[in-house]
Each structure stands twice: as structure tokens, then as C-alpha cells.
């Protein structure tokens, strides 16, 4: 069967790609997508450990599942607010490129 390490490596890869998107992309929505990818990586990790812990205990455990469910809720809320902010910023500044939103730099 599939070893735990495969899931962990996959999740690390997804997390790194998401991190790169957050750090390097200029488009605000692309940054948001990177964050979604990172949250997904975390979820893969959580569910892999949930499965591992359930099989160690011999009965399904609930903590990992609740954590994963909370992350879904969090992701939904975060996306809604972030997209609203992006659209609002686009209305005022006519750009969604984060480098160009530099009003506070003076």
C-alpha cells in the first residue's frame, strides 16, 4: 500500500509551488490561487496523518477530520473576503497588480 511519506512529499511539493506563486506572481488573484494551493497541501497532510493515526489507534479518530473541515470553512471565507478586496481595489485604482498598489510608500 501507499507509504505515508508519499503523501507528505506530495503535500510539500504543493505547498512549495503555492509559496512560489504567493511570493513571485504579480497578479493579486494569482497570489490568492497560490494561497488556495497551500491550504490544499495542508489538507492533504492533515488527512494523511488522520488516516495514519486512525490505523495506529485501530479505530477512526475524529480530530484530523474536524481540522480539515475547519480549513475548508476558512478557505471559503478567506476567498470571499479577498476577492471582494481585490474587486474593490480594482474599482479605485484600476489595477490588480500588487506592485502597483503602492500608495502607502509615498
Amino acid at each position: 500500500m501507499i507509504p505515508l511519506s508519499w503523501y507528505l512529499i506530495l503535500s510539500a511539493a504543493l505547498f512549495s509551488i503555492g509559496l512560489f506563486a504567493v511570493l513571485a506572481r504579480r497578479h493579486a488573484i494569482a497570489i490568492l490561487m497560490g494561497i488556495e494551493l497551500m491550504l490544499n497541501a495542508v489538507n492533504v497532510n492533515l488527512l494523511a496523518f488522520w488516516h495514519y493515526w486512525s490505523q495506529v489507534k485501530g479505530a477512526p479518530q475524529v480530530n484530523g477530520m474536524v481540522f480539515a473541515a475547519m480549513i475548508f470553512v476558512l478557505a471559503a471565507a478567506e476567498t470571499a473576503v479577498a476577492l471582494a478586496l481585490i474587486i474593490s481595489a480594482y474599482r479605485r485604482h484600476h489595477t490588480v497588480v500588487v506592485d502597483e498598489m503602492s500608495l502607502l510608500k509615498g
Partner: protein, 172 residues
């Protein structure tokens, strides 16, 4: 190798490939499509973990809600998306950081004894949905976080509507 392992390998290759294409694609709409592929791949990974509830919720929440919101936002902000480079000046540094993190994590995971444990089948006798549902409304369990999460969603809903609402007479 068993069939399940092949399923995992194919799904994870597709997921990682789609994620890379998402970062690399120039047009935002294509990036959103690649994100959809990556999210579907993650759903398949959840199925191999016997978390079918989360695989379905992944489809429902990420594809059904988040991705469609993102696509709508891309359409609404279309005019400014085509110009300029897609990466900023930090790109090489960011790639370095991400690469180092991945290499280090992978090294740790391969060396770590626990992570070599093969996943056993949990057995079809238990119903994880019932377990999760009971835990979420159990006062001894996770009732408080559950309620807080619902308040968070409501706050996000109202906040998002308030922020994005177009107010008349407040032009740029």
C-alpha cells in the same frame, strides 16, 4: 506495485503538473483552469486516503464555490490582466526559497521512520460522516469551534458584500 499505488502516482503527477502550469501560465483564465485540475487531483488523493467525504466536499467547496468566485473575479478585473510580466523581481529568490523548503522537507520525510508506514485499509465498517457529524455538534467535542466557524462564514459573507458593493457618488 498495486493498482492503488498507480492511482496515487498518476493523480499526484497530474496535481503537481497542474500546479506548476498554474504558476507558469500567463493568462489568468488558464491559471484558474489549471487550478481546477490541481484541485480535482487533490480530490482523488483524498479518495485514496478513504476520506470520500472530504473528496466530495473538495469538489463542492473548491470547484463549486471558490473556483467559480475566482473566475468571476477574473472576468470582472479583465482589463488590467494582460499587460506586463507575470512574475515580479523576487521570482528567483522565491523559487530558491520554495525549492529549499521542498528539498529539506522531502529529506526529512524520507529519513523519518514513521513516514515509511504503509497505509492500511481502515475497513468499510465505520461511517466517518456520522462520526464527524456527531463530533461537530457534541458539546464535549467540537461544538464551539463549529459555531465559531459559522459565525466566521457569516461575517465573511457580510463583509465581502459590504466591501465589494458599488457605492454611488464615491467615484475614484
Amino acid at each position: 506495485m498495486s493498482a492503488l499505488q498507480w492511482v496515487f502516482i498518476i493523480a499526484s503527477l497530474i496535481t503537481v503538473g497542474a500546479a506548476v502550469m498554474m504558476v507558469a501560465s500567463h493568462r489568468m483564465m488558464h491559471a484558474a483552469l489549471w487550478l481546477a485540475v490541481a484541485l480535482l487531483g487533490v480530490a482523488v488523493i483524498f479518495v485514496t486516503l478513504e476520506a470520500s467525504f472530504f473528496a466530495v466536499v473538495q469538489l463542492l467547496v473548491y470547484i463549486g464555490a471558490i473556483l467559480i468566485l475566482i473566475v468571476f473575479a477574473i472576468m470582472l478585473t479583465q482589463r488590467s490582466t494582460e499587460a506586463g510580466s507575470r512574475l515580479n523581481s523576487l521570482a528567483w529568490g522565491a523559487a530558491g526559497v520554495a525549492g529549499v523548503i521542498w528539498t529539506a522537507l522531502t529529506y526529512v520525510f524520507i529519513r523519518w521512520v514513521v513516514s515509511g508506514t504503509p497505509m492500511q485499509e481502515l475497513g468499510a465498517s465505520f461511517d466517518d460522516v456520522v462520526l464527524l457529524g456527531k463530533a461537530l455538534v457534541d458539546a464535549e467535542g467540537f461544538a464551539v469551534p463549529f459555531e465559531v466557524a459559522s459565525v466566521l462564514l457569516l461575517a465573511a459573507l457580510i463583509g465581502a458584500v459590504y466591501i465589494a458593493f458599488e457605492r454611488k457618488g464615491e467615484g475614484s
